[in-house]
């Protein structure tokens, strides 16, 4: 275990004390902003340190004067208080000197900001779309048409969060499908959201920008070093705000190109497989088995394995009007979600086979519907009317 003292108050205090005493010993714990791996991130780090040291210098003067006064000008030393109480000259001096210092800070800050806003001339474009509570990455071609897309979900197992298993090295900072980008190329990100405001932040790139529903923000980066870079959503976006990390793999250009070509090929094969699956004659057992798996991935967190949910926030499915009633209404809820609740829209998340099978599973397992199959073609027909 990396953090041996996690289990008691005293232990943590000791661990902390040890850290304060010898920060060099704790190589894994970062105390300061990362200089990062891009020209911009290093400029931001330098700016941060510049302002920090200026503040330290001012602090030494100001707190020094205060301390001298506290030590020397105390009644117990038998001093008589002076009577001066104004000086226009001094007031002007300590208005102008800070003003000068601030201008000195503003100049480099402006330069870095102007550089950050230079979003043109990109080599590739990735659309980043926030969802409650996952990210979707879409690789766009030169005409901004989608070539490749996938979702990126937290991959830390729940039992680690609940303390039933030892926490891994990248606890809460690991995903199933990381974003992959090439180094040394200008990557432009178009940020938007499907529901509430999220913020996409990778500290090593010094990039943080809000993903706002209905609007598009753009940022860019050129990464210098290959590596795995981790970040998190930085804008409160609901219950699982703390559980939608960002992982970026930066690959050398040729490796990226190979990866991208492979992904395109896999996507094409996936599309073919999906078409085959849709065309397939699904039996009730097949649908049930597939749906059970989909349910375990996407639904079980709220509605629970037995379908009893956690009312009132997460209503029970078992025996509910939804799973026993009209199929169209059931599909509508799964497809569009229930606005204003934790129930998200699965229309953009699940393919027709997964959608059909999970609805079938829910109706069969929790609604005791007999015989009625929910097939992929039903979902496709439903989606066409939307």
């Amino acid at each position: 275990m990396t953090f041996p003292f996690r289990h008691s108050l005293i232990g943590s205090a000791l661990a902390g004390a040890a850290l304060f005493a010898m920060p060099a010993a704790a190589s894994t714990v970062r105390w300061n902003m990362t200089p990062g791996v891009t020209e911009i991130s290093r400029a931001v780090y330098d700016l941060h340190m510049l302002i920090f040291w200026i503040c330290v210098a001012i602090g030494v003067v100001v707190f020094g004067a205060m301390l001298i006064s506290i030590v020397l000008h105390r009644k117990s030393r038998g001093v008589t208080p002076a009577t001066f109480h104004e000086s226009t000259k001094l007031e002007i001096v300590w208005t102008l000197i800070p003003l000068g210092i601030l201008i000195g800070m503003a100049v480099p800050a402006t330069n870095v900001l102007v550089q950050m806003y230079d979003t043109g001339g990109e080599d590739m474009v990735v659309e980043v779309r926030g969802y409650q509570w996952r990210w979707e990455y879409k690789y766009l071609d030169d005409d901004l048409n989608e070539r490749l897309s996938f979702f990126s979900n937290l991959s830390t197992p729940r039992d680690q969060i609940l303390g039933q298993a030892e926490k891994g090295e990248h606890y809460l900072l690991e995903v199933d499908n990381p974003l992959v980008i090439p180094i040394n190329r200008k990557v432009r990100f178009l940020l938007t959201s499907n529901d509430v405001i999220h913020a996409w932040w990778v500290p090593d790139f010094a990039l943080k920008r809000d993903a706002i529903p209905g609007f598009i923000n753009d940022i860019w980066t050129i990464v210098d070093e290959p590596g795995i870079y981790r970040g998190q959503c930085a804008e409160l976006c609901g219950i699982d705000h703390g559980f939608m990390p960002i992982v970026v793999h930066a690959l050398p250009e040729d490796e990226f190109d190979a990866w991208y070509a492979e992904q395109l090929e896999l996507a094409r094969a996936d599309g073919e497989r999906l078409e085959e699956e849709i065309a397939h004659e699904w039996s009730g057992e097949e649908l049930f088995a597939r749906g059970e798996g989909v349910y375990a991935t996407h639904c079980v967190g709220c509605h629970q394995a037995d379908g009893q949910g956690v009312p009132p926030a997460f209503p029970a499915l078992a025996g509910s009007a939804l799973v026993t009633g009209d199929l169209e209404a059931h599909m509508d809820v799964v497809y569009h979600g229930r606005p204003g609740t934790a129930m998200q829209a699965f229309g953009p998340v699940l393919d027709p086979v997964d959608m059909a099978s999970v609805i079938h599973f829910q109706r069969k397992a929790f609604g005791h519907a007999n015989g009625e199959l929910v097939e992929p073609i039903d979902v496709i027909r439903f989606a066409e009317t939307q």
């Binding site: 953090f3 943590s12 970062r30 506290i70 000008h73 007031e91 606890y171 930085a234």
Partner: protein, 527 residues
């Protein structure tokens, strides 16, 4: 001659009514001031318990005590309760008690409205807190209420939160009108504006800020209400609205709001530091001008809370420059306080300790404020624990310490007894140490990359968070000692003189301790 007339008036004085009606019907500024202070202390404890729930959950990684949904309700309510229930009413309570005595007035200008503006508060706050027990839970979208998380995706109880905010706002506006009317109309003869005590000046400016921005907040939450219930789309892009519009409106209120919570604090320490340095406040005029400049600037910096929403470059630059400018008048104030101490004859009673800690720690918060103002660097700080550290340094060791400072300073005048200096000092040191253990490590966790408002975190933040939790519990529990010291001073103790502190100046020290139920029925004559 005048003494004879005063005595005649005193014959007609009547004391407080008996029983509960004294508090329900009172129009006496001292009674209402006391009620404000007690109310704010209760809310401070309530908000504090919520903070301790947050800190307990964050003591170590993993889900330990509360689920993320309840955690979000705690962060939201902690913010709302502390801002609207604890800090603001405490300053209004101090204003009620002290402003009439400082300007030589018999009472507030509008005593019945004063009663109403207090009595709205307990009901509004009860309504706010009751949402925690409603179906679907209380507000879980942060005290900043960002749409569409608070509108389309908010719990049903949001409607009650909106109503509570309307009520709290109405109370604040009435309080502010009352304060302005009192200061502008009821000063003793000879007290010109530039002779007013600093607490009076800072509250006058604060009251104008309140009147200017509370209606803006009311507008923002009303638009939320319409989006939720009446099919409008102010903040919904699908209907032609803009979620970022909410943030602009909210922070147009929100930034002056943070000065509403700090300007009266500036006033308080401008009384306490001269009193215990036995030397007049340095640069009175420039203090007044600096306060006014800060108030003006507070209206044109709001979007520095929104550097990451994707404003155009020109907008980023404007808000960055304007924000940096605030450092100038704030610096002037700090320099003036230190010049006041310089070559004084200082003693270090509890109020002075809190005032010195205020100057020190508020300046630390000011430094992180300057860092946050630098837009390109703010991309790394924004919505991290660095911001949490910053605003707790200015609001806890800033605003709240100044309230402790004021209470210890004026408590003998209110109760007629000296408080226990030894216990006061223990309270100070526990608070000072607790605050720093709680909030200083947050600078590190923020810089290292920990976002705020998360119920669980990656392992590299574990030690910082453990420290913060330890500090928060030290700070939180030591406030029970404060309660004990105050009650002890109410019940008895060494009799206080009228002057109380040998270096203190102002009309409030010319009346006996405890201050009679009615003071300055006849206006005092200023030299």
């Amino acid at each position: 001659m005048s003494a004879v007339i005063d005595a005649h008036h005193d014959d007609h004085d009547h004391g407080p009514a008996k029983g509960i009606t004294r508090w329900l019907y009172t129009t006496n500024h001292k009674d209402i001031g006391s009620m404000y202070l007690w109310f704010s202390f209760i809310m401070f404890l309530a908000g504090g318990v919520m903070a301790l729930v947050i800190r307990a959950e964050l003591f170590q990684p993993g889900q330990s005590f509360v689920d993320p949904h309840f955690f979000n309700q705690m962060t939201t309510m902690h913010g709302l309760v502390m801002v609207f229930g604890a800090i603001m009413p405490a300053f209004v309570g101090l204003a009620n008690w002290m402003l009439p005595m400082m300007v030589g007035a018999p009472d507030m200008a509008l005593p019945r409205m004063n009663n109403l503006s207090f009595w709205i508060l307990p009901f509004a706050s009860a309504l706010l807190i009751s949402t925690l027990f409603m179906e679907g839970g209380g507000p879980d979208f942060g005290w900043t209420l960002y749409a569409p998380l608070s509108t389309t995706y908010g719990p049903p109880s949001t409607t009650f939160v909106i109503f509570a905010i309307h009520l709290l706002g109405a109370s604040s506006i009435m309080g502010a009108i009352n304060i302005i009317a009192t200061i502008l109309n009821m000063r003793a003869p000879g007290m010109t504006l530039m002779k007013m005590p600093m607490f009076v000046w800072t509250w006058l400016i604060t009251a104008y800020l309140l009147i200017a921005v509370m209606p803006v907040l009311a507008g923002a939450v009303t638009m939320m209400l319409f989006d939720i219930h009446f099919g409008t789309s102010f903040f919904d892009a699908a209907g032609g609205g803009d979620p970022v519009l909410f943030q602009h409106i909210f922070w147009f209120f929100g930034h002056p709001e943070v000065y509403i919570m700090i300007l009266p604090a500036f006033g308080i320490v401008s009384h306490v530091i001269p009193a215990f340095s036995r030397k007049k406040l340095f640069g009175y005029d420039s203090m007044v001008y600096a306060t006014s400049s800060i108030a003006f600037l507070s209206f044109i910096v709001w979007a520095h809370h929104m550097f990451t929403v994707g404003m155009p470059l020109a907008g980023q630059l404007f808000f960055m420059y304007a924000t940096m400018l605030i450092a100038v008048p704030t610096g002037v104030k700090v320099f003036n306080w230190i010049s006041t101490m310089w070559q004084g004859a200082m003693t270090f009673e509890t109020p002075m300790l809190f005032a010195l800690a205020f100057v020190f720690l508020f300046t630390v918060g000011g430094f992180s404020g300057v860092m946050l103002a630098i837009a390109p660097a703010d991309y790394q700080y924004h919505d991290t624990y660095f911001v949490v550290a910053h605003f707790h340094y200015v609001l806890v060791s800033g605003a709240l310490f100044s309230i402790f400072c004021a209470v210890y300073f004026w408590l003998p005048k209110w109760t007629g007894h000296m408080y226990s200096e030894a216990l006061g000092k223990v309270h100070f040191w526990l608070s000072f140490i607790g605050v720093n253990i709680a909030f200083f490590p947050m600078h590190f966790s923020g810089l290292a990359g920990m976002p705020r408002r998360i119920p669980d975190y990656a392992l590299q933040f574990a030690n910082f968070n453990a420290w913060s939790t330890v500090g928060a519990f030290i700070f939180g529990l030591s406030q029970l000692l404060f309660l004990y010291v105050v009650i002890q001073s109410i019940r008895g103790g060494q009799k206080a003189t009228a002057q109380v502190w040998d270096g203190a100046e102002g009309l409030e020290w010319t009346v006996p301790s405890p201050a009679p139920y009615h003071t300055f029925s006849t206006p005092p004559q200023l030299k």
